[in-house]
Structure formats: C-alpha cells, structure tokens
Symmetry: C2
Subunit: 261 residues, 2 copies
C-alpha cells in the first residue's frame, strides 16, 4: 500500500453540504477527471466589468512531465487541449509569471435515485473540482509528450495508430495549457434511496410509491467507419476501448445503485 | 412555423473558434440545457482576493412561471435546485437587487471522432452556455411550481407519483435559484472525421489508419428497486422514461456519427 495523499482542506474547497460524500483524496479526484471525456474549465473575464466567469468544454488529463511514472495518487498537473478560444489563450499569455487562475470541473452521472418524496430524490454521481494556475506549454519536448498523453486519454493507444509526430505547422497551431493544481475536492454519491421517518412510517406511501435507482452510464456504440481511411475492420485498440468502457461504466453504475460505498 | 428567436451576438457569447458549429438559437440552447441531467454553474467568489470561480454541479431546467405555456423557443428562466452550497445562497442573498452573476454550462458527448492524425481528432458533442442573474425564489406559489418543474425534468411525471406537496419544513429548507438569462450560446459538432489534403493524399496512411466514429450516449439501465417503497413492479412512468431516454440518446449519437447537420 502506498501513500494516500489528500488535498488540504481550506475554506475554498471544503464541502459544506452532505459532507459525508466529500473526498479530498488525490487518487479519487484524479480518477474522476481522467474518466470524464470532456471537462469544463472556468476562469474570469479579462474585462473587470464583466461579472460572468467564462466556461469552456475542453479535453484534458492528469499527468507529470517531470515524473512520467507518477501515478494517480501523486501530485499531478492537468494538461488541457481543445476548444481554447483565443481569448483564453490571450489571458494565459497575459499571466506568464503566475498563470491564469482556472477552475476545472468533471461530473459523471451514475443513476437517478427515486424516493418517496421529491425532496429526497437525488442522483448517484461522481464530481471533481480542481483549482490551479494555467500557462501555455512552450517546451517542444513537453508539448509533444502532452499531445501524446491527451490523445491516448481520449482512446488508449490511439497515438501509435495515427500519423505522428505532428508536423511543424501542427506543433505551432496547437496549444496545450498546463494547469498547476493548488487544491481540489470531490463528491461522490452511491447507493439506493433514503427517506425520512415521517414518510417511511406511512404504509399508504410505501404501498403506492415505487422507490429505487435507474442506473445511468455512458455507452460506446459499435464503431462506424467514416472519413478517408480505407481500413475495413475495426482495429483492436478501438474495439478494446469500446468493450472496456462499457464493461467498466455499466458495472460501476449497477453497483452504485445497490451499494453505498 | 413559429418565430426563431436567437440570443444577441456580443463579444461575450460569440464563438470564435470553429464558428460554423456555433448556434444562438433559443430552442437549440434550451434543449441542450434540458436534456443534460446535471448542469455546472459558475460564479465568482465573494472574496475579491480569490481568483478562482466556484463551480457546482446542480439540477436545473428552463421554464417560465409568468407564461407556463411558453415553449423552448421562448425567453425562459433557468430554475436550479440541488447542491447549492450555503456560500452560493449567501451570495445570491447578498445581491437582492441585481442577482448573482452566474454562468450555466451543459455538455453532452455524442461520439469520439477518430481521424488520420491526432490533431484532427474530435468529439461529436452538444454544448450550451447561459449567462444570467440568479436570485432565490421567495414566492411560495412560484417555488412550489418550480419544485414540480424540476422534479419532472429529472423523470417525467415523477411529481404525481410521490408524496406531494412538500410539507412546511421541506418548503423552508428547499432553495430554488431562478436565473434570469441575459445571453447564451451553443456549439454542436456532428458527422464523421475530416482530414487535411496533406494526409488524405497519402495512400500509406489511408491503408494503415482506421478512421470513423465511436458513437457515445447516456444509457439508462434496468431500474433496481431499493429503499423503503414496497411496490414490486417498475411503474409505467419509470419504464417509459428509460425506454424513451435510450431510444432518443442512441438514435442521436448514431445519426451524428454519419450525418453532418
């Protein structure tokens, strides 16, 4: 058994409501981030008059260029690649020293929890939030490493099955944002419905209202060939991704429906 | 055919990158919000020294108490109910006049787009962002209406199949945040992979790299009885939700894999 690192509990990241569902465990939080296909990142507008934080969907994954063998239990950076508006990149460039303050969120729905009364309805879910400072990766070696990391986070092994490495023009046009994490927290709900005594004592309700969980999970369907490639058979790395994803997601949701962890 | 309303294009909500995927259409944006089980909302910390926007997962839906028959093409408010930290509620209360500036985001992944080279990889997805001012619903009639609206947005018809109305204690402890929307935008990607000429002209690549789409969708599994209710058979409103969800989600993802809309 290795170390179990946790993010420090400060006012900013402490879960106040239903805090028995909270986690500060690095491994758990990093896993939720890595298992979520699209992250949402939030940061403040460069216009001090604009009160609305910007939110962008982005592809990202946890990793450590300095310690590539680091695992999910270790302190890691978050590497983001995706729909970075030029505005976001301009802002990251405008903070070369400190980086741009960014909040990263990932949420997975694992089931709908149906109880006796609307107020006790809930979702089974996994949610993670990270706070950190983002800056553009300028080092060519780290950038290439991060591009490979992110590509393989979308579909394991994909990098080696495509035309790589990126050419000069692609390296120049691609931006990778590296977020140094300063804190984070997670929240997880599992298990069946729970109701209050005032309702569970009412025989008429118990006889009338169905209670339970509808498990929910992200399914990968049969791959559909398209685009320019002429390979007919779906390759092993794509098939394995589909099978693994479905097996893991379905099992998690079905287990969460009946077991409180 | 009715009106087709759009959110005004201003600097804040204009999509700059891949703007052929952008939409400002109310119906489309409101649909993405309503079809996403858990929304992420973002707002600034009350501490001016804290640079990180807060992000919270919340349950919410679009609606109009003033015009209950309004449809998704009409101007609507967003009603939020869920893991509102006390901090969020305190902040909303601290802005009784203007409301708390909130950004609301919803993202659905519809497929993984696998192309010849990592840079042209993508997701099929639907993403919506709304900007608005949130305040607590104080009017008892509107609050009850919103609680019913939100419950039925989780699972159609659920309100009537549970113990309602909420009692005095539940009404007092429940908070509903109503966000008056001032602007919004959406972004949608559909279709198969697209690569650049420099790669599609290389016969060796076309023969080596499989290209296509892995459709992805949220699946509802077989409902699992649990909790205190004693009804054995899964009721029709739960069964119908499951069947409809799976049919709609699977069809959308599979169509998006092959058709550019």
């Amino acid at each position: 058994m290795g170390r179990t690192l946790v993010y420090p509990r400060v006012q900013k990241n402490t879960v106040h409501r239903k805090d028995d569902r909270a986690t500060y465990d690095l491994h758990t939080i990093h896993s939720i981030i890595n298992e979520t296909p699209v992250l949402l990142i939030s940061f403040n507008s460069s216009d001090p008059e604009d009160p609305f934080p910007t939110i962008l969907p982005m592809i990202g994954t946890m990793g450590s260029f300095a310690y590539p063998s680091a695992d999910l239990n270790d302190p890691l950076e978050c590497y983001l690649h995706g729909y970075v508006s030029s505005g976001c990149m301009k802002q990251a460039r405008a903070h070369p020293e400190s980086g741009l303050a960014i909040t990263i969120a990932a949420t997975k729905v694992d089931g709908i929890v149906l109880s006796l009364t609307p107020n006790s309805h809930s979702y089974n879910y996994r949610s993670a939030v990270l706070f950190g400072y983002g800056s553009l990766v300028e080092d060519a070696e780290e950038k290439l490493w991060a591009m490979q990391l992110v590509t393989n986070s979308v579909l394991p092994g994909r990098w080696d099955h495509t035309r790589t490495p990126p050419d000069k023009a692609e390296m120049a046009s691609t931006t990778i944002l590296k977020v140094k994490i300063v804190n984070g927290s997670g929240k997880i709900r599992t298990g069946g419905p729970g109701d209050e005594k005032k309702d569970t004592e009412r025989e008429d309700l118990l006889q009338r209202v169905w209670t339970g969980v509808v498990p929910m999970w992200e399914t990968a369907g049969e791959p559909v060939a398209g685009g320019d490639g002429r390979v007919e058979d779906v390759p092993e790395h794509v098939r394995a991704f589909r099978d693994d994803t479905n097996k893991v997601n379905e099992k998690y949701a079905k287990t969460a429906a009946v077991e409180k962890t």
